[in-house]
Symmetry: C2
Amino acid sequence: MPEAQPQRIVLASRPTGEATTDNFRLEPMPMPVPGDGEILVRGDYLSLDPYMRGRMDDRKSYAPSVQIDQTMTGEAVGMVLRSNAPGFAEGDMVAAHTGWATHAAVPAAQARKIDTQVAPASTYLGALGMPGFTAYSGLKEIGRPKAGETLVVAAASGPVGSMVGQLAKAAGARTVGIAGGPAKCQSLLDDFGFDVALDHYAEDFEARLSAACPDGIDVYFENVGGRVLAAVLPLLNQFARVPVCGLVAHYSGQSAGAPDQFLAFMRDILIKSITFRGFINSDLMEYYPAFLEEVGAGIANGAIRYREDVVAGLAQAPDAFIGMLKGSNFGKLLVKLR
Amino acid sequence: MPEAQPQRIVLASRPTGEATTDNFRLEPMPMPVPGDGEILVRGDYLSLDPYMRGRMDDRKSYAPSVQIDQTMTGEAVGMVLRSNAPGFAEGDMVAAHTGWATHAAVPAAQARKIDTQVAPASTYLGALGMPGFTAYSGLKEIGRPKAGETLVVAAASGPVGSMVGQLAKAAGARTVGIAGGPAKCQSLLDDFGFDVALDHYAEDFEARLSAACPDGIDVYFENVGGRVLAAVLPLLNQFARVPVCGLVAHYSGQSAGAPDQFLAFMRDILIKSITFRGFINSDLMEYYPAFLEEVGAGIANGAIRYREDVVAGLAQAPDAFIGMLKGSNFGKLLVKLR
């Protein structure tokens, strides 16, 4: 069977505030040709992740911005169609930074082989991929939940939050998950073993969070910011740890709330000996082998669960991505490319 | 020689905003009588420290507030006049939480003997006391300056800042000290070996700080907040560490500046993998023996220098304390009690 026409999605314009479909353009492209040391990858699943919103802006962040008319950055899992690199052969399954595209020629050094005997290929973009590892490394290095402590995480039905909840629960912590709407909240209890599920759309969310944490909060795994962060701050205990891996509520430029929140925050850090520490998973690669082993085994034996939300076809990526930033996905968001 | 009439200073009223002399009252008191397990201490030097401002307010902080008509909290060094506790004898020199008073009966468990052969008694309230240990433990546990890195500290001629600068310099870091006025800035260079001294009263302070840190800031030892913190934030490097031990600029209730500073801060924490961690030295007592040994030796052999600002008589304490909160002291502020 001949390969389908390769396609990609480029950044057509920069968003002002929330991203819209006009910011993206789907276009055909010639089949990429791998250079020396490169491999040609045909994607099976493309991962859509909140951090990509930051790449659409022309401002300093973890990594360079995407330029106008350039392919949107992103990671996919798929098969090697051609290899000009030692160690990779046609037919190998890999995870690689292909961008939002059906095919890509990528440096082999930036690809990693995946073992689909351990877990389905798609999990290497979620529970066994960057989101799962973000949860794992942030908890191991910064959050360190202990038995009897209370951990809070938002976007708790998503790939980072659901892993945070399960790992913290396994460490003996009481887990409070926050999600949007009753279906996701039910999933927190049924699928991911949270002790408490809270709907952040509830009018009295702040009061419910306080009631759900009678002993305060020892670990807050920060991935959203906004209203949840504001509600969490006064509940943080002495020696609380706050790994900061995302601020989704602010990715589209929303403001941070009351003028004196920063001072209140600094005071709390001071008088309660609190740690706030930002990180991205690449800071903490020393945990990666243990992550693959532990979480891979947990997925294989069913002890660790995950949820995927799959849309079909590259053309659906912009809508799905925009929806994700508003919380409309339910589980790890993937684009099935074939 | 009979003992002089014991005196103390009580909290007469709570300040609204900045403290005034009306908030304090000097009064005679009967000679305290030590109970079982207690010692009677006659103070030689009383320490005045910024944290005391927080105790004057009726709000949650490290420790309980001082109540109206109660003795202001504080630590002194002095001599044991009577002991009802094993391990302490008349004539021993101790550091103890006497409050703002010439004499106090204190539980022996809360006093520690000091060795005036190693260093003068007064240094156990400064370079070898709580301020010095705050510098030492915050750097060891959180700041961790490395050779070639840039460290910034404000109130740099004070007892915490001057120790931070000297210890960081000894660790090979480039040290940038901030102080108020030319005399203090000169002292940073001459007495404490800072590489750069900056006057925070300068109109173009922000530009000077930026110019003084061409490679950004790796460690910011936070003890003031306010304008200095705002100027430091945009200069923090990837993986910067910010031990937070004080926010003097805000102790009297001043606000924190622009509305969106908090969001900018959270973004920086995130994209630069920055650590902010509050602490008080009692969190980090595991470093105390090493501190006494290292810094004690440094003071004894002159490698570590310190500066004291001594006022005479308990009656001077309120004025001196109020001045300190505005930066008018020059070195560790002490009240000579005898």
